[in-house]
């Protein structure tokens, strides 16, 4: 499998703080790739660099064979990378359906076709019944689902999910995991996810990257990574080991 997304020595500094420090990894086409790490490890900054919300200070980001580092967020999305936000940002006053239509209109120029596509996604994420409600009226788990649906509406090749599972109830976690696995299997959608819920990571991810203080300290299959002494140390502290 060829790499759909590859990062080479990507760095980002905020004044004195090095948030992301020379991180390199490659995500094969069709993979579900998880990024884990303690709070403040630089996971969301890494996402912002890939999605174009921030420009890296150094290194290269290549998506589908083309460099994308420093492109504007909308340009990155048009190339086929869709993202969700850790702190969800639906369009609050718009209805649930219109939120997803706004995403679907990127590829479908006809509003009717975009609406059909949006409704199919809303059924999949169990939001169809609530489609005429304003997005601001949804509960947090529903808003997270709406974010994923809206991102998917842009028909991405790569989906960046920033903690869409954290904060869900256990049954909801299982449903989200099932939907993501389905999407990955059906259409070969590549997913990169930041996640704290290890149950979901273990169930979904084909590969895991561990970040700590901006550097990649381990990468491998989920089973191998959780046994890695460096990972255990960063999560639990040295004395426990």
């Amino acid at each position: 499998m060829s790499a759909l997304l590859s990062l080479e020595r990507v760095s980002k500094r905020f004044r004195g703080l090095v948030a992301v420090d020379g991180v390199s990894f490659a995500v094969p086409q069709g993979a579900i790739f998880a990024v884990i790490g303690p709070n403040g490890a630089g996971k969301t900054t890494l996402f912002n660099l890939i999605a174009g919300a921030l420009a890296p200070d150094g290194g290269s980001i290549v998506f589908a064979g083309e460099p994308i580092a420093g492109l504007a967020p909308d340009a990155v999305c048009r190339r086929g990378i869709a993202r969700t936000f850790q702190l969800v940002r639906p369009f609050p006053a718009l209805s649930v359906e219109d939120n997803v239509i706004a995403g679907a209109l990127l590829r479908q120029h006809d509003v009717g076709t975009a609406r059909e596509r949006a409704q199919a996604l809303l059924r999949r994420f169990e939001l169809f019944e609530r489609r005429y409600q304003p997005a601001s009226a949804l509960t947090l788990p529903d808003r997270k689902r709406l974010e994923v649906a809206r991102a998917l509406a842009t028909e991405p090749k790569l989906l960046l999910l920033d903690e869409v599972i954290a904060g869900l109830r256990p049954t909801e976690v299982d449903r989200m995991v099932a939907v993501l696995r389905e999407l990955n299997r059906e259409s070969g959608l590549t997913i990169v996810m930041i996640e704290h819920v290890m149950r979901a990571v273990m169930a979904l991810a084909t590969r895991v990257l561990v970040l700590d203080h901006g550097t990649a300290i381990a990468e491998g299959t989920p089973e191998a990574v959780v046994r890695d002494p460096a990972v255990v140390q960063s999560y639990l502290g040295a004395e426990v080991v």
Binding site: F91, S95, A102
Partner: protein, 338 residues
């Protein structure tokens, strides 16, 4: 094609909304035969403010960009059409065609400066005020349009209404501004229900999230400013030919810009019917106030402005969405999909 457009316009509009709009339109169409000359003038002023409010709403209500300088575009249309008429005998409709690119270009310059360099929110509003003031002061010294002495259109008694040259009685002007208001309403509805409308609303709601779903926010904000500016310039052409005199101090006054936004703010920013309802509420109340004051023999200059201020205060405190959204919910006019 006409049928297709009408079907699309009426698509999933609740029946009662269509009936209400039909009754309203019919009432407005027969109004000149019922009301006296004074009330007809009030209706013209009201529709003028509905039209300019609708045009302003494209920018603020749809795309979320607060303009406090829309008088600039009306002023440009007014001066251009009036100058072409008085100096070259060129009619107002050609004048309007000429004012579209001028106003649009002016909007594009302001939009480019603001959106390229990240001037947003209140700062964008200040920028639009600044350009309005440049124009006011500039035209005050522009001798080819008589500077501060004012530009006058020849006024004479016309035996016939001349629609082509916009010379005639108030009834003709009434139907012209009514047609413009209806067209603006239809245009806004078509825009709002098309791709561009969804993108505008997304930008208004959350610009970062809009970019994350691939919307080129710079481009779509530019469209909003340019369309709003071009539409507003027609109001200026109408103004020039209706009042027959133009003074920079009046036409480009920031007060004109504020008047344009009062209707939609009171009626409901971002709604299609809000600018129209707001214009009627505001002008209706102001006329009632006038009539009451003259009946009791009171003459208080500035009472109208104070009254507008109180209306605005009331709406902001009691009906932050404007008058129309809660009214529409109560009357069951919001059962459509949007």
């Amino acid at each position: 094609m006409t049928v297709a457009v009408i079907t699309r316009l009426a698509d999933d509009v609740p029946r009662r909304t269509l009936i209400l709009l039909g009754i309203l339109l019919a009432a407005l169409l027969v109004a000149p035969w019922i009301v006296n000359d004074y009330l007809l003038t009030v209706l013209i002023v009201t529709l003028y403010s509905a039209y300019t409010g609708q045009a302003w709403n494209i920018m603020m209500g749809f795309a979320g960009q607060l303009s406090l300088g829309n008088a600039l575009y009306a002023g440009l249309g007014a001066y251009l059409a009036a100058a072409l008429f008085t100096d070259f005998g060129i009619g107002p409709w050609i004048g309007f065609l000429a004012s579209i690119p001028v106003a649009a270009a002016c909007g594009a310059i302001i939009g480019f400066l603001a959106f390229r360099f990240g001037v947003a929110g209140v700062y964008f509003a200040i920028l639009t005020i600044a350009f309005g003031e440049f124009a006011r002061i500039g035209f005050d010294h522009l001798t080819i349009v008589n500077a501060s002495a004012g530009l006058f259109l020849p006024v004479a008694q016309y035996a016939h209404n001349d629609l082509w040259r916009l010379r005639g009685d108030p009834t003709m002007f009434y139907y012209v501004i009514l047609a413009a208001t209806v067209l603006a309403f239809v245009l806004c509805r078509l825009l709002l229900r098309s791709r561009i409308g969804y993108f505008w609303l997304a930008i208004r709601e959350d610009e970062q999230a809009a970019r994350a779903v691939g919307i080129d926010t710079f481009r779509y904000k530019m469209y909003a400013v340019v369309i709003s500016a071009a539409a507003t310039s027609f109001a200026g052409v109408f103004y020039a030919f209706f009042y027959n005199n133009l003074f920079p101090e009046q036409v480009f006054n920031i007060g004109r810009s504020i008047e344009m936004i009062l209707g939609p703010v009171i009626g409901g920013v971002g709604t299609l019917f809000g600018p129209i309802l707001g214009a009627f509420v505001l002008n209706g109340l102001a006329e009632t106030l006038n009539a009451t004051m003259s009946a009791v023999g009171l003459d208080l200059p500035g009472a109208k402005e104070v009254f507008y201020g109180l209306c605005l205060l009331f709406v902001i405190l009691a009906l932050p969405e404007g008058v129309w959204p809660p009214l529409a919910r109560r009357l069951g006019f919001d059962k459509g999909k949007r």
